[in-house]
Symmetry: D2
Subunit: 363 residues, 4 copies
């Protein structure tokens, strides 16, 4: 396993869906970053299931900060936050021990860990594990805020319904970060939620696309050849369960344009160099160019659905039918949003520290 | 800069477009892998410009293997291959020293390296730098072949023209690996090349999409949480200049499906566990499931075009017009193909070594 | 901070002396390693203070395994073990907030973390932090045992008293691993303990030298150029507070010999290649040669002593006198022993996995 | 193999004694560091064999800078320097292909690389490989100079003869860096060289101890828990062939002192915090405290000696006698000196960049 990510700022994740707890260690964060319980709880609440569009498994997410924080500030040492598991109904899962839930990791985990994996509720592959990442991610987001860098993500598509595009980053990002179901057009948001509820009614699930904007990132962040901003962010984003695609700027759409249309012409605005368009999502040559960083993640529909599916019993090596009895989400796009923001914040803290060093943060 | 990638098998890249040479060091490769000059030259020829669809800058790519190879086999020590630069016309570039070519790295490089960057021909950001990666990548591809793993990439879209989809991986991959312009449908390939030539005639450029299939990868490769197969491959792929999107399986298309349609049902085929569909591109939970690994890269149109573009002089901080005089490609999609295969091969050698160790390779 | 170590098997440490708890995450361990609470508690007991030769701060070290273990075996996912802090008397420390204890990290921590460090009881620099390393180290030691690899360390020198040298590794290592005060000659051990008690009576402290032997390590472990066995082990050993020197085989003594005396002649013993002497400590060219791995660590006397010392107040930047009131050890050599074994075990699990892969362990 | 070292500044080494060439890639160095051929050649000359105390294999060390340098300054991109091999007499070595030279890596390399290793002249394990490290190390030393940090190493012991201790770091370091045989007391240096010549006359070899001082390192460098300054430096130093021990400050000698004698009392000197003694070698808690960094390396006598030695033929698995005909050094202590300085400089550039970032260097 490789459960650590980042070089100067490193996050290590641990935990299983039905083990004693989930959590993360965030190392390399500068000393002096304020740690605000209210904000951590706010971020956790954005990830928590809610109402008809989510799983009935709801936990208080009472976290324990074991280290790295003193008198309300980071100390510069590793920050370990654990969220003990509370609401775990293992009996829901044990029956199907050897049945591979389609598009889940059950089969590959059994093969890779030789049958020793903690299979209950998806074990280490469960979305539950992201709870720890959101908790420490809140601290990374606070660090970025202090340097005038903000991250905002909206559900640009869900259940086939498209949200409005960004029109005013500054204010819209602030709004998004206070919404459980983060959309720019409330009417579209309601249509999306109807689609989710309808899918659940049909024992089915839906996916969607998340679009993220990062404002205030200085010019020059990203370390080519290999640690391009796209490479680092995509590496982090694909760790989020269900993400199957990542694109920057126009992404796949840019492949259809002529160079004369795709290129972002530079111009002087005040005393700053800006681009007239932002088809490259604020990144040239893998390095931030001062424009907003724009990217999208494709999130597949929740694999767990309450209808019979054909599969195999990988112990007996025979075909079988599986019918999921466990509690599950008809959609995780809206809950994945804050996980995206958290991973992006941690990744940017790492990239910024590589360029500016540790002391820069509290100057 | 972070010019090394990989943990067990590590590649380090170096060089500038108009410096003494470009090259790479491949470390961690097992001893006993055959190193075949004919194959290395073949791979380099697939990257080399050719005819009307490419830049007139053509070099012999006479490489020097400085280390790590003895009597035609890898020795287990780092393999350094250098390709000296020959055909460099620096005068083409020096005039525009402080003019930022739109969608190029000139501006960010100037800012990041405080004016000390080797700006000639894009310096370290030039596609020329991929030559070394293709040379060492050939050795990684040879290693995979010995274990029955093969990689094939076709131009699934270029200049707005779509290629046929894969229909028979085994034979088509072998064909693709011998084609300069890698398509599954020759007629579509001709239409694509016409689009490229037309774009050049209009002083413009085109982009496209590359689709890759990997066959024979064992079950269980990929190291969640963070080093998922998607995360590792995307990290590697975004290092290739002009790639702006990476998606696995159905990618962004999966976001529109219902779970019941998106899920890949398992079934027993012979004594093997397979899936009826492959919407997840052979990856569950970030780990290979034994099906073909399928992904696509979006390649933007070449930023350098032979028409005037508005930009800035980033030294004077004033608006300006740039007209590119240098030699350039109206399209790099077909040339990027072998770079994709090379980076994928190196990444898989790393992931396989993490699971199986070094000694596995020559068993 | 860089609180993670290792590439294939990675340990991450966290915690402060007077925070909520200390702990570690061990990632990359293969699935299927037995996790035995009795053994973990045994290892923790070897680190725990005891009697007149240690600090009166004694804790039960009741650990919590939050993840990575199921049904008594490792699952292949990260293992997080936390040991909550219980017996913390912060008032002992707060008075001297800005007085630098000589040879402690107080001053450098204040400078490095800009005054945000958790200074209580040495914070993250406290030996208390090693508790988590010993807990996860026990699992690494169990993994090595399964492959016939054993580690043993004795106090070769303490308070000026020398222990007997190793005479029979196999049996002596087993004995050492059951001793609180690990020596090969009990009489010498008593003399050492008298020296410790005498030092305490004089408000002083003593240091010593630990000598370690590793048996059963296969030929070929170690990854030159840089990840030599010496380099990896010394990197790990110098993380143990108070270690100021590391030497392999004859170490510094080899510098005085002629080559003809220092060289270890090879010979055939049965069907194995062995060396007649082991002056190189079982390592040639940074790689294990099949002989016992032998090394020594110099442990400085505990810096904290119950007598007045001249120092500075680093806030006021004035000279001062400090008199330590806190609870402390007159010697930590005997307690550091099990930390050495733990770090060596973790380091060897990493090096072995690099060579043999993950699956090798449970074959 | 793991031939890369360092995280923010990374060096990658490659090459074999009798291959096409040896070299290194230095990545992560800031842009704008002057690259001075005269200084690189000076450093290479300090490593080059000279006269009766060295091997007759002498090479011009004509290096090629392939990348990362433009107009006499680093560009911020990876610097690859290759030194082609010239004077290689392979016939000297091929006869003994399967005879293990005692205390050399021949046997372990054969086992580890399954017989595919380039065995000629020690291959990748040859001291020849350090040439590339010295070349790129010169650039790291230049970078440190710009920040007022200087490194000096003297032969504190050789052939049983002890040099004088450091008495005036500033001036002595400058002198040492211009001496082929670096000692503080010329008379002692002559005695050492006589001992070397005598050993050669007796077909034998001698070892010694190198002592290094680093001046001007700021307070706060080093990243505990694991990347302590001692851990990083020892990891780098043990990569130098023949180094078998590393100690900081009083090192092993500190184990015999009482805490009251070993502790370094702090005091105010001018407006700086200093210590009255420096028994800890300028490092507290793994972090630099502003005092000179002091450490010593034990260098074993050259294993290759011109007298018959008993060994084995590891192919036939039978005992044998080996008589070295190759050209070799009766002592490598004096030549290893500049390799120590080079590795220390690279390691410190990495540690400083972790703390201060890339931009700090040219401020």
């Amino acid at each position: 396993m490789k459960n650590s990510f980042g070089q100067n700022v490193t996050v290590t994740v641990f935990g299983e869906s039905h083990g004693a707890g989930v959590g993360a260690v965030l190392d390399g964060m500068p000393a002096g970053i304020p740690v605000n319980d209210e904000f951590i709880n706010h971020q956790l609440s954005l990830r928590r299931p809610s109402g008809a569009i989510s799983t009935p498994r709801v936990e208080a997410d009472n976290y324990i900060i074991y280290s790295g924080v003193y008198n309300g500030f980071t100390t510069g040492t590793p920050i370990c936050i654990v969220v003990p598991n509370e609401n775990t109904k293992s009996k829901d899962y044990s029956l199907d021990r050897f049945l591979a839930r389609p598009s889940h990791a059950d089969f590959v985990a059994f093969e890779k860990y030789n049958g020793f994996e903690d299979y209950r509720g998806g074990g280490h592959f469960s979305g539950r594990v992201t709870t720890g990442l959101v908790a420490v991610g809140a601290i990374a987001i606070s660090a970025l805020k202090q340097k005038g860098i903000k991250i905002g993500t909206h559900i640009s598509k869900c259940g086939g319904v498209c949200d409005a595009p960004f029109s005013d980053y500054e204010t819209q990002i602030d709004d998004l970060n206070n919404m459980i179901f983060a959309v720019l057009d409330d009417k579209k948001g309601e249509e999306m939620q109807s689609a989710i509820i309808e899918a659940r009614a049909n024992c089915d699930s839906v996916g969607g696309i998340l679009e993220t904007a990062v404002l205030g990132l200085p010019v020059g962040v990203g370390e080519p050849w290999f640690d391009t901003l796209e490479g680092l962010l995509s590496h982090a984003l694909f760790s989020i369960p269900a993400v199957k695609g990542v694109e920057f700027g126009l992404g796949f759409g840019i492949a259809d344009l002529l160079g004369s249309k795709a290129n972002d012409a530079f111009e002087i605005s005040g005393d700053k160099v800006v681009t007239k368009t932002n088809n490259n999502g604020g990144i040239n040559g893998g390095i931030s160019n001062g424009m907003p960083i724009i990217f999208r993640c494709a999130v597949k529909p929740t694999p767990t659905i309450a209808q019979p599916q054909s599969t195999v019993n990988f112990k007996e090596n025979v075909n079988a039918i599986i019918e999921s009895k466990g509690r599950h989400d008809p959609c995780i796009v809206h809950r994945a949003r804050v996980v995206v923001d958290s991973m992006v914040a941690i990744t940017l803290c790492d990239a910024l520290t590589a360029k500016f060093g540790t002391d820069w943060w509290i100057k």
